[in-house]
Symmetry: C2
Subunit: 440 residues, 2 copies
């Protein structure tokens, strides 16, 4: 992408009401613009990151055998009356009447709707297990939306729903999602710690939150340091195999949010393993059995002909919140430091002297070669001063910067900088082009 043709409205200062690093940086880099309390437009660069995260979540859900669909944003109130949650949900639910005065709502979550889809089609144990998921905008009418996309009102959530014949099968589905979550967050460069959690308004008897540690986290969390050092299960995990050991490898260690915290159990840990920190919830999974299938009569036939309510679970990831969460975990005093997997582009190409025939020609060759080799490149071909270009490129945090200036070009060289480490080295232009050519 040529910056001269792009829309990247970087600003010098963040508004005073942006309290945390991610919110400030997302406003300064022109990733989002607020359109109302807790409601944001995703400007082009922000949109690219959001799509990257969405795609990683998709790939890890698919790998775990979940099937993607898309439910609408607006739902009928009557479905929520069936489950009993219409009145119970309170003011966070945005209630709407259409022109015929039918009661509707903007979905804050989808247990009722997906249960309705399920009961319309699935009648037999033969069609199980089934995990359906979607990535759709949700609305929760928070009293005080804050921290930018971290606690917005309109937000993008991935929510998956599992359907199983037996309680034990439901636990198998739960473990698949548990592992898929660790892999998804791992691919985003995050260490997410599964913590025993309260089930809240979703209900159920088993629940874990996935928490990333950050000083600006909204809640206090407590865990064993061993969990922070443990890598994700890995993309070669066999999701058809028994994942019990993979889950218990983690749940054996202490980890809990404030509301589930057991101070005595935590104090019993060796002192050097006691991690007491702030955390951001990026995922939450629930096993709630027949909480919805019983009132909504979602039943399936068993092998011996009985009709039984289906066992369910639900599994959420805060896709838009993750954009903020990743920035909280990945920034320094100069700006964002994107992990490669979610960076809007992998490479920033800086032309220090646009209009200089030699610089322009080298940039053009490198730009084409990078793209031909499958790299995503933002080419700063604007006629601004070099100093401003460097600062902006650091601010938006692409993992690699390639700088082309007149002196280097005269020597056949360009400079490559690693944004994270700050390391710079000179590279021969011909070597770089040859290497890229070999990667086509």
């Amino acid at each position: 992408m040529r910056l001269s043709r792009y829309f990247l409205p970087v600003t010098k200062d963040a508004p005073a009401d942006a309290a945390i690093a991610s919110h400030k940086l997302m406003l300064r880099t022109g990733m989002v613009r607020q359109n109302g309390a807790g409601i944001y437009s995703w400007l082009p660069m922000g949109f690219r990151v959001l799509k990257k995260i969405e795609q990683i979540v998709r790939e890890e859900m698919d790998r775990a055998g979940a099937v993607e669909m898309l439910m609408p944003t607006l739902q009928q109130a009557d479905l929520w009356r069936e489950s009993g949650r219409y009145e119970a949900y309170g003011k966070e639910m945005l209630r709407i009447q259409d022109r015929h005065e039918r009661d509707m709502l903007y979905g804050p979550t989808n247990e009722e709707l997906v249960t309705d889809v399920f009961r319309s089609y699935v009648k037999s144990y033969k069609q199980l297990p089934l995990v359906l998921y979607h990535q759709q905008w949700k609305f929760r009418d928070e009293v005080r939306p804050r921290f930018g996309v971290m606690r917005g009102r309109e937000f993008l959530m991935k929510d998956a729903y599992s359907f199983d014949l037996t309680e034990e099968d439901a636990r198998v589905s739960y473990r698949k999602m548990f592992c898929a979550y660790l892999n998804a967050f791992g691919r985003m460069g995050l260490t997410a710690v599964p913590m025993r959690a309260d089930t809240g308004p979703i209900g159920g008897d088993m629940s874990h939150e996935f928490i990333i540690l950050a000083d600006t986290g909204e809640s206090a969390v407590f865990c064993d340091k061993a969990l922070l050092d443990m890598p994700a299960p890995g993309l070669d995990l066999d999701f058809d195999g028994d994942l019990t050991a993979e889950v218990e490898k983690r749940t054996q260690y202490y980890a809990a949010t404030e509301e589930m915290h057991d101070a005595d159990a935590f104090a019993a840990l060796p002192a050097d393993r006691q991690v007491s920190a702030r955390g951001i919830e990026v995922g939450h999974i629930f096993n709630f059995g027949t909480k919805y299938s019983v009132p909504m009569n979602a039943v399936v036939q068993t092998t011996d002909g009985q009709m039984v309510p289906v066992q369910m679970g639900s599994y959420g990831i805060g896709v838009s919140r993750l954009v903020g969460g990743i920035i909280e975990a990945c920034h320094d005093e100069n700006g964002i430091v994107w992990p490669e997997s979610v960076a809007p582009w992998q490479v920033g190409l800086i032309n220090m002297r646009v209009g200089d025939a030699a610089c322009d020609a080298v940039c053009e060759r490198i730009y084409q070669a990078l793209q031909a080799a499958g790299r995503e490149v933002l080419y700063d071909d604007t006629d601004e001063r070099a100093g401003g270009k460097f600062a902006r490129m650091d601010l938006i945090g692409l993992p690699w910067q390639t700088t082309v200036g007149p002196r280097g070009v005269a020597d056949g060289k360009v400079e490559v900088k690693n944004r994270k480490t700050g390391e710079k080295h000179e590279v021969s232009i011909e070597d770089m082009l040859n290497q890229l050519d070999a990667q086509k």
Copy 2:
């Protein structure tokens, strides 16, 4: 995808209230499920097609230089009061109050919101031209939603907005979108005819609808047959060049919707070129100058330091409607006949005798080889009868069917069928695998 692990709820009959072919077929093939009047869940196969169309639209917008972003579904009423459309829009606008009794609405279109984004950042002619677009769910509270996704209330629209310094520049942007639309529809296997159109509530002095012909179309259309025989401009079109000729090549011919119809001009055409038909609107583009920029004070500085209101246009494509539109144009008595570019999978692989070791092994090899060669495959590995499998595969309309049965396997052969032509031929298994291997 293995069908045994997928969710494809095909049904024998369509509900009686489904009046047109696409609605019937989308319900029978389990592509969508209605969740309320004009509100649908996109079940997994429907979702795949929707994503294919969205991606084609994205690629053609990007090729024409437009930049993708994402605006929220909910908007503040105050923005619409600025433009004067809040009261004017009528009952099709879904009006909402949040918990603080602030007036909001579910966006039926985004001229106001994008103009607000624009005026917040862009101050100079140097930042122009600019075309921003997004693909987001919209809501229009139709009195009588009907024809399935063709006239739903919650629907997915791609809407682009152009910003230019002068009227002539705005026409340049208009022509780019005009050509990009023809390319996008062409890639979907559709012949879309641009027709002079009324500008309606969007306003402006220049507008074209893009219409595909179908017997079930909602409006009468009239055009010169020459337009139906004209291919799209082509993906190698130079969008930086002058596109006037490319546009006029089409606008020189008569084409108009009912409301713009000039019976005398139409009658003057040679009889064999008079096409009078029904049509489905799949796109609509508008050049409306300063209709929004003046009341909303979206001004930019000119080269000589003056501040002038920016020239705008908007460009819509009915992404979810297109799923129905394509089926209207592409089906036969046995079901859907997908164009390859939007098919949910390119190949359907039928195992006639699941459990037969030889059939299973051949299917598995072909399934793996097809995927390794980059083909999307739906593998019917269910234990149903062959007759039902054939009928279902015809119904869902994948372009190619590969059938593996015990007799063929004994001869080292499988059958390949073209869904559109019905042509079948036997292919040697080894030849097929070798060919696929070469395409890796």
